[in-house]
């Protein structure tokens, strides 16, 4: 081997190097459109649905349009430039905005208006396409170096289009039918879910921050508290909910004041306690680490310039720790959204109710009605708090 071969080959004309990521993503999307079932049709909510390919669902003009748009994304990415990336972003947004119309067309073709129970389900191909389009958005955001704020704007406007379609023309869709059958319940469950999560997270922010501050003051506390919190995490969430039932029921029965305050073995109280218990570890850990990890040189400089201990804490340590603390809030909240779903098992309400009822009735559309909003809620909170952390990081430190 000559010495020249051993050297890494320089990328000539880096601008022309195709974006392999987007190209392979669009190939996968094509495969999903052509190879997987786009939608499914069922005669009613219990029977097994049958899959329908894209060709049958939206006809060859629809498949052709979809394929062309997907090829356009790949083609634009084959010769990347800032303009082409923007164009690709436009195409991706266009596909996302057109997708509900695809469902409408499919509903028109496949659902017999004579059968009121018949419904249209979303198939694997559709989900895969949706997921990969999200990946395309992420990749484009990274390549265009957009701030996190932009995807939030883009996705919420696409969400608006979807919502409009859903509420006006998509009545054939199983999810919509399921929603219409219990819209009040759904809204109430969603509100309960959000309320439970916000209360639990607020409590754990306050308690967690206090605990982290105490740990910084009393070193001994630190070890035992972390050991306890770590131990709490090894108990399965399911079990913690269950374990709280009996003691709380006993308390409610024997301490009347608590019962009047709404404490009972089943419902919100055990859910809230368990949620806070689980939320404390990520909250305390991130707060503690965030406060501890501020560079000692920066802190020494603060003292050397004549800052008092309190000034040093409020003006230097805390602002520098805030982004990492917020990261803790983000992890905690996302985790709490998932755990609250489990809490439905002990009667805490929330969107988990639909999941477990649906599983019990083998009604998958109902499961979807519970799971999908939970997923969306988690993603929205994740993106929102991520964007907030970015804003709070002046000058983009770290």
């Amino acid at each position: 081997m000559s010495l020249l071969d051993a050297l890494p080959t320089p990328r000539l004309g880096r601008g022309k190097h195709p974006n392999v990521v987007l190209v392979s993503l669009s190939v996968t999307m094509l495969a999903a459109v052509w190879g997987l079932d786009a939608v499914s049709v069922a005669a009613n909510r219990i029977v097994q649905a049958t899959g329908v390919s894209a060709m049958d669902a939206i006809g060859w003009p629809g498949v052709l349009l979809a394929s062309l748009l997907i090829i356009a994304v790949g083609g634009l990415a084959y010769q990347p430039s800032r303009t082409n990336y923007w164009a690709a972003l436009g195409v991706v947004v266009l596909i996302l905005a057109l997708m509900p119309f695809g469902l409408m067309v499919a509903g028109h073709f496949l659902i017999d208006p004579e059968l009121p129970q018949a419904r249209l389900g979303i198939g694997a191909g559709y989900w895969v396409l949706l997921f990969i389009l999200m990946l395309c958005l992420i990749e484009l955001r990274l390549k265009l170096a957009l701030r996190r704020f932009w995807p939030v704007v883009i996705l919420s406007s696409i969400g608006l289009v979807w919502w409009l379609c859903a509420s006006l023309w998509l009545s054939d869709l199983a999810l919509i039918q399921e929603f219409k059958a219990r819209d009040r319940q759904f809204i109430q469950a969603a509100l309960e879910h959000i309320l439970l999560v916000s209360v639990a997270v607020s409590i754990s922010i306050v308690v967690g921050t206090l605990l982290a501050l105490l740990m910084r003051r009393f070193v001994k506390l630190q070890k035992s508290a972390f050991a306890l919190l770590n131990f709490l995490q090894t108990i399965p969430s399911l079990a913690l909910f269950g374990l709280l039932l009996a003691p709380l029921a006993w308390l409610a029965a024997n301490v009347p004041i608590l019962a009047q305050l709404g404490v009972s073995g089943i419902g919100n109280t055990p859910a809230l306690i368990a949620l806070v218990a689980y939320s404390l570890l990520p909250m305390v850990r991130n707060t503690y680490i965030a406060l501890e990890e501020v560079s000692p040189d920066t802190l020494e400089a603060a003292s050397a310039m004549g800052m008092r201990a309190s000034q040093r804490f409020w003006q230097v340590r805390l602002p520098l720790a805030l982004p990492i603390m917020l990261e803790g809030v983000r992890i905690t909240t996302v985790q709490a959204i998932g755990l609250t779903a489990v809490a439905a098992l002990i009667g805490a309400g929330g969107l988990g109710t639909f999941i477990f009822q649906g599983l019990g009735q083998a009604a998958m559309d109902m499961v979807l009605l519970g799971a999908l909003p939970i997923l969306i809620l988690a993603l929205v909170v994740d993106a929102g708090l991520g964007a907030l952390a970015e804003v709070l990081r002046p000058g983009g430190v770290r």
């Binding site: 399965p236 909910f241 269950g242 939970i374 988690a378």
Partner: protein, 271 residues
């Protein structure tokens, strides 16, 4: 000058290898005792539920449930480890580096998906039973492994890689003899987090008909039988502690190896 803080004599505490494996052995033993002993501890559990008809979970043997629990977690772990470490390695190579940003974003997105929601979404596709929970565990456990593999490999000193390159090591040799050994402690820490989380999360599988240690818990919640819940929770916690301390011992061993034999590294990179 900064104060010269004395290092606690930590090394001496872990030098004998039997000490290293003592903790996992202890927890494992306790787990075994509980698995086999709970059916005979009716008196103890009667104390929690004086009025219940039954206080010992009877629908399956505990060792059966433990076995299935381990199977689910094990299969998920094997898949996530090969996928996660594989992806981490692939995107840190020259050919795969284009995928690096997307993969690291995707991995963090994976943990945003609540396991219950994933479980629920997997059921329509995969049916009731063990498959959906394995799927959910895979998605949920992927992040720590991918993240730590990436950090571990990226933190390997660039000079060391250049040196390996300059000595005439092929990229594959560099990976196996330099990068992976140096990144091993970090990668192992990721696997540890992933597996420990999944042991607890696997209990959720009981809600979609996968029979494992979550079963007694669900049954207990539904029937209002605290004793069942305690039995399930106790076994899962002990299992988690056993596996966690096993990883702890493994990590100490690796750390000991890395810190006690700096000559090894030199040998690796000049071979």
């Amino acid at each position: 000058m900064k104060p010269n803080v004395k290092q606690p004599a930590r090394l001496s505490a872990q030098s004998p290898s039997n000490r290293l494996w003592g903790q996992p052995l202890l927890w494992g033993l306790l787990l075994a005792i509980c698995v086999l002993g709970i059916p005979y501890a009716e008196g103890l559990f009667r104390w929690f539920e004086p009025n219940a008809r039954q206080v010992i979970y009877q629908r399956a043997h505990f060792y059966d449930l433990l076995g299935r629990h381990l199977l689910v977690v094990g299969v998920a772990a094997i898949v996530t480890i090969s996928l996660g470490v594989g992806a981490g390695i692939a995107v840190t190579r020259k050919k795969g580096q284009d995928f690096l940003p997307l993969v690291s974003q995707l991995a963090s997105l994976g943990q945003t998906f609540p396991p219950v929601a994933v479980l629920a979404l997997a059921v329509p596709v995969l049916g009731f039973g063990t498959l959906p929970i394995i799927m959910a565990l895979m998605l949920y456990g992927l992040l720590p492994i991918v993240r730590n593999t990436l950090t571990g490999l990226q933190d390997v000193d660039a000079d060391m890689k250049t040196a390996a390159h300059a000595m005439g090591m092929t990229p594959l040799q560099t990976l196996y003899q330099v990068e992976l050994p140096l990144a091993a402690p970090v990668i192992l820490a990721g696997i540890r987090t992933s597996v420990t989380i999944n042991i607890a999360t696997a209990a959720l599988g009981a809600t979609v008909g996968a029979s494992n240690l979550g079963d007694p818990i669900i049954a207990g919640i539904i029937n209002g039988n605290m004793a069942y819940v305690i039995q399930g929770a106790l076994l899962i916690a002990l299992l988690a502690l056993t596996i966690d301390s096993l990883f702890d011992a493994l990590q100490s061993k690796i750390r000991l190896h890395l810190s006690s034999s700096p000559g090894d590294l030199a040998r690796h990179s000049t071979r």
